[in-house]
Structure formats: C-alpha cells, structure tokens
Amino acid sequence: MSPLKIKKGSTSHSAYDLRPTFSDKEERHTLAVLVENEPGVLSRVIGLFAGRGYNIDSLTVAEVDHLGHRSRITIVTRGTPQIIVQIKAQLGRIVDVHKVNDLTVEGPSVERELALFKVEGTGEHRIEAIRLADIFRANVVDSTLSSFVFEITGTSEKVDAFAELMQPLGLQEIARTGVAALSRGT
C-alpha cells in the first residue's frame, strides 16, 4: 500500500477543512422577504440563518396584507457578496417565501427604525436630555419627575447616535423595533 505523505496523526487534514477563501469584504444588506403568513414561516427563515451560520443584525416581521395572507420580513444581514447571494437563493427556496428583494442593491431605499429610551435623572442631566431629544426630534411619551421615555424614529445610525448621547445622561433601558425598509420611488 502506498503511504500517505502527510504526517501520521495529523488532524489538519479534516474532510471538512475545505472552506473557500473568499477574499471579499463583508457587506451590510437589507433584505425584504415577502412570505405566506403561515405558522412556522418565521421559524423557517430564522432556522435557515442559524443552520447555515449567517448573521442577523436586525429582523422585523408583521402581516402587511391581511386578505392576501402575506407578511413582510425585513432582515439586515452581513456577509461577503457570495454569502449574500447564497442567503437570497436559500431564502428563495423556502416554499412559503414569495419574493426576496435586496434593498441594498436594487436601487435607492429608505430605512427606519423606532426606538423607546428610558432616561432617568434630575437637574442638569434632565434638562440636557430633553434638549438633545428636541434636536433629534424624539417625542416624550412618558414622564415622571425623575424620568422620561423618549420615542425616536430614524435610521439605525441615528438611533445609535441618540443612545450614545443618552448614555451619560441616565439611560436605563432601550427597546428597538429593528429596521423597516422600502424601496424609493415607484
């Protein structure tokens, strides 16, 4: 028998050690997935991402067409271009998925996220918080003598920026909806 010219006992030659070396950089993509509003459909989508090791930065889902029985899932994901193409193809295979749109590449689109911030503080901090909220066009939706709940709508970056500013001013809790997105124009 001809011996193998690899070190005996080596584990570096695993049968599964075959991942391609994609040199491309990771990209952030927003996908709009129109699905049949069936029990389990969200689980299928999430299971796909978990099972194949794809990232989910944000995910929102709600019924958008009651009569047509359709829900819209908006997913923000990241990966190399090959992985993004693969994610779209894999989503397209799911029987309950009607349509997959990549809003990042299919022309301009708008993205919005809604977030609620609970900020506690008194004196200067409290005044600064409401001043900044005004600049960010955040609404006060609840108030006590020592706290506010702000509601802010905008891009994820705007929400991130607001969170950063609120941090030293007594930020206690954040609730974010995740991204909703639509393509621009007709």
Partner: protein, 584 residues
C-alpha cells in the same frame, strides 16, 4: 362535486388519487384511524416495516428506482423521531418522499401528551416543506400540494403531521385539480446562457461533462438527451456517485465516477479540462477536494434547478438555472442549429490523453491466495449479474465505493445509495422499497457487515412480503472506512473500528426463515453467488473478505485531483509519465 368524508379516509383517497400503490409504515396510537381505512381498501399495499427508519429508506428506494414519489406512514412521537434520519437522507439526496405522521389530538398539542413531540419543529430543517393540518377541510388540499412540492423543482422530502382528531372528524374532500399553488419553479433555462454554453462547446479543446443526481431526478428524458449530446459532441463524461447510470458504463466516452474515490482518469480529466459542463451536480466536497486547486484552468458551466446550488462553493462562468431535461433539449437544439461544431482535432487529442490516463488501470487488483479481495467479490458479482434486470443498493463505507467502482450501470434509477448524508443502514430497507416497486427484478444490496446490522430487523419485512432481496455482505469484521482513515490519518490507532461479537449471519438468516450463505474461498465464490441468485427468496450472503484492504484510488482530503493515491498494484510510474503530475 364535493365529497364529505373523514380525515383518515381523505388521506387514503388522496394517496389513491395521486397514484400511490405502496405505502411503507408502522402503526401506532396516533395513526390508527388511517390504518383502519387502509384495512378497508385494496388499492394501496401497505408494507409493515420493523422500524420507522426502515419505512423512510424503503420509500426512498421505491422513489429512486421508480421515479415516483415514495410514501411512508408513521405514528406520533417516537414514530416521527425515528423517521428523521430518513428525511435528512432524502433531503441531502433530493429524493421525493411524502411522510405522514400521526399527532396527538389538536386539543392536547403542547401538553406533553403521551407520544407527543413537536414533529413540525423537529422536521423543519430536514424537509423541503412540512405541514401541521389542524382542520379536516384542509387535509386533502395539503396532501395534494405535498405531492406537488415533493416532486417539482429540486425534489425532496415533505412531512404532513395529522392530529388524531383531524383524522376522525368529517370534512370536505378537495380534488387535486382544485388545489392552487404558488410553488412553480421555472424549468426552462435562460436562452442567452444556453447559447453561451453552446459557443463554449464549439471551441473547447479539453471539454468534460460532469453529471450528477440532477440528471436522474429530471427523469429518463434527461438521461436520453444526455446520451444524445455525448454521442453528438464526442466529449468525455464523468459522473458523481449520485449520477451513476445516467450515461451507460459501457459507453465509449465514459470515464467512470470522479471524486474522492473516483477513477484516476476521471479526476485527472476534471483537473485538466478547459470546459467543465456540470449537469445536475452540486460541487460536493467529496468531488471538489481542495477548492482553490479544483480544476484550475477550466471555464465552468453549471446546469441546476436550484439557484442556491449555483455559485455556492465554486464560482461558475456560465450558470443555467433550469431543469436538466429542458435545458439539454434547448442546448442540443441551439448547438445543432449553430452547425454542430466542435474542435474535433483538439477533442481527439484530449481523448488520447485520457486514454493514457486510463492505462494506469487504477482499479487493478490482484486476487491471490485463499482470502477473497472485496474488489474481486464485486468484480465477480458484476460478471454474474450484469445481464440481469438488476437494481443495486448499498450501505455506506468502503463497500459502497467499491460497488460504485466495480459495478457498471447502464440505465438511470438502477443505483440506490446514500450519497449526501452517508447513512449506514440505508441499503437494506432501500432494497425492500426497490423490490416492492420492481417485483420481478434482481435487487441486490451491497453491504458491509457493520452497516447492514444497523437495520437488520428489516429481514422480518423481507420475509413477510416474500421479497427476494439479496444482501451481499462484504464482511471484513471492521468498520472499513473508519479503519482506513485511522490507518492513514490517526497513526494506526484503531479506536473502536472493529466489530467484535459479530453474529453468525447464516444462522441469523435462518432465524428469520431466510437463506444464509457463507463464502470465504475465492474458488467457491462464483458457485456461491449463483446459489444466491438462484434462490427464490431473501438471501443473506456473508462474504468473508480481506480485513485490511483499503479503498483506492483516493484523493486525500485537502488535496487536489492530480494528487491521488493509487492502490498498491497500480502502475504509478506510468502515471507520472502520462499525466506529468506529481503522484504520491
């Protein structure tokens, strides 16, 4: 016309309407109403297996050998969980099967009831699609849709989970033609891309067809068109494990299987070709080996029905999304209408090169002494059975690779093997499914003793239904492939890779009422095989073979195609001359 009937009756009616003649199953509390309906009709044969995994593999064997979807029926809880391996197997190999599972009544779902499990949740990642039917009125339409989804696009397994109260309740039966579905994957390929491929074929100097299970799944027309295309272009052709039989092994342009244990000439051709035409294969890691060294100089075309298979691991230059038969038909038409051109001179030179590689004779072995070589056993089996109307199943391991190397397949749907999942225990129940679909054919399961023992209980099924399946066991008292890897990669430390306390297979066969044959002498092998073939009933053939034989050729994982290991008897010196490649 609307018809009112119980859910259980709907199940049977829908199966009949879908043309099902055989169901493999195992009863239990949650499917009793369906079994009661099966009892009261004669259109559908029910095959009682001995374990639910056997039911699903049998349905797979039936599906792969007949081209029709296979059906299995199991109960809730353990019935459903036992079906999971078979479902995953069918998903990996794209086999259309419909698995019906019983479920506890709807009002008990979620209460941890007896024999309850979250069947839909458990089977979601291992099915193409699945349904929990909570209303009897929807049951028939789900049944019809399930057949449509299992068999169209890239085929696959589906599960319908039916609570017991839904089986008892009465509802309205929906005819198949009334069912609307949005699932209609396109079958026609893009004509521009097809024309691109035709152009590439006209100028290719070292073209190669690389075919896979997609050709078989596309139906007999695809194999027919493929043969026409190969004959017309005179291009050489290789195939994956899954695609064996789509082009005849006796065909002039046939190179044999490629991949990790593929033939030298096939892998060398794959490495050196300048146009690779992938038809219904998926660049599996057993085929590609090291990706950055995979066929480095070729233009790659890929025909596949599944968009997610294209550019998944290998970037291709000419992607064609569509059904193999439809695309091949268009490709032939376009190529013919453009004047049936190929670079004949270059292709001839290429074929000469391939013939030089062939001379390496990578499957050569020497049968010496009184111990049967497994290769010899298969070579004799091939010689003595090739004239028969023959179907071959396998388990998983060395014997599987040897069967792929030494047996010749002339037609599609004649070769049933677990390719993607690599399920030991697949072959025996699959052979039962094949025999049910082809009662008069010769059905042989080439097995290893370890794999075979994984579903040996199905000998009871074979006996009960008088299915003359031949279990050809290459018994090396080892988990041969595991042993081989331990020898080559783990310092010859044979951790748990031999079978102690093996049964006496002849007595085991006799305990079930079947025939057992043992053979340990190469001189008696032919007679013993003939005895097996001449026996009208299930046979357990215990072929004692060389215990330490390794399976070659082999591309070690992480190596490119031109760095194959050949067996001890192959002429490696010639290979270096002929191929100019560095051989180990």
């Amino acid at each position: 016309m609307t018809k009112a009937m119980t859910g259980a009756k709907m199940v049977v009616q829908a199966l009949i309407d879908q043309g099902v003649d055989t169901v493999f199953g195992y009863p239990g509390g949650a499917v009793l109403p369906i079994y009661d309906e099966i009892f009261q009709q004669n259109s559908i044969k029910h095959v009682l297996v001995r374990h639910e995994q056997g039911a699903v593999h049998a349905a797979e064997g039936y599906a792969r050998s007949t081209g029709k979807p296979g059906v299995a029926l199991v109960t809730s809880g353990p019935g459903a969980t036992n079906a999971v391996t078979g479902l995953t197997d069918a998903l990996m190999d794209s086999i259309p099967i419909i698995v019906l599972t019983g479920q506890v009544p709807t009002f008990m779902i979620g209460s941890d009831a007896f024999q309850e499990c979250d069947t839909i949740g458990i089977t979601r990642p291992c099915t193409k699609h699945n349904w929990l039917v909570k209303e009897t009125d929807k049951l028939a339409s789900v049944m019809h849709e399930a057949f449509h989804i299992a068999t169209s696009g890239r085929p696959g397994p589906v599960v319908i989970d039916i609570p017991k109260d839904v089986q008892f309740a009465t509802g309205t039966y929906t005819e198949a033609r009334q069912v609307e579905t949005h699932y209609n994957p396109p079958v026609k390929g893009d004509m521009e891309m097809i024309t691109e491929l035709a152009k590439a074929m006209e100028t290719a100097k070292r073209p190669l067809f690389y075919t896979g299970g997609g050709v078989i799944n596309s139906g007999p027309a695809a194999s027919q068109l493929l043969r026409e295309l190969v004959a017309a272009t005179d291009f050489p052709i290789t195939s994956t494990l899954m695609g064996l039989g789509c082009y005849p092994a006796s065909g002039e342009n046939w190179l044999g299987m490629l991949g990790m244990h593929g033939l030298y000439e096939a892998n060398m051709a794959m490495h050196d070709c300048d146009l690779m035409i992938n038809i219904g294969a998926r660049f599996d890691d057993r085929i590609t080996g090291r990706l950055d060294a995979f066929s480095p100089g070729s233009t790659k075309a890929h025909i596949d029905i599944d968009a997610s298979s294209i550019n998944k691991v290998i970037k291709v230059d000419i992607p064609i999304l569509g059904d193999v038969a439809h695309v091949l038909e268009d490709l032939l038409n376009v190529w013919k209408s453009r004047g049936r051109k190929t670079d004949k001179e270059a292709v001839q030179k290429w074929k000469h090169q391939i013939n030089d590689w062939r001379k390496v004779d990578c499957l050569a072995f020497k049968q010496e002494g009184k111990v049967i070589k497994p290769q010899y056993a298969l070579a004799r089996l091939e010689e003595l059975t090739k004239k028969h109307d023959r179907y071959i199943c396998t388990e998983v391991g060395q014997h599987q690779m040897w069967a792929a190397q030494y047996l010749g397949f002339e037609d599609p749907n004649r070769w049933m093997t677990s390719g993607g999942l690599g399920t030991m225990g697949y072959g025996f129940p699959a052979s039962i499914g094949v025999q049910m679909g082809h009662p008069d054919a010769l059905v042989i399961n080439v097995a290893g003793e370890a794999s075979w023992l994984m579903n040996m209980q199905e000998l009871g099924t074979a006996m009960q239904y008088g299915l003359p399946v031949k279990q050809f066991i290459l018994n090396n008292e080892r988990l041969g492939m595991v042993r081989q890897w331990q020898e080559l990669l783990h310092g010859e430390r044979y951790s748990s890779s031999w079978s102690e306390s093996l049964p006496d297979f002849v007595k085991l066969a006799e305990a079930f009422g079947a025939k057992g044959i043992i053979c340990d002498d190469p001189d008696n092998l032919d007679d013993a095989i003939m005895e097996m073939l001449n026996h009208d009933g299930p046979v357990l053939f215990d072929c004692l073979v060389e215990k330490h034989e390794n399976c070659f050729p082999m591309i070690p994982s992480g190596k490119p195609h031109n760095e194959m290991l050949l067996g001890e008897n192959a002429d490696t010196a010639n290979a270096i001359q002929a191929g100019g490649a560095v051989m180990v």
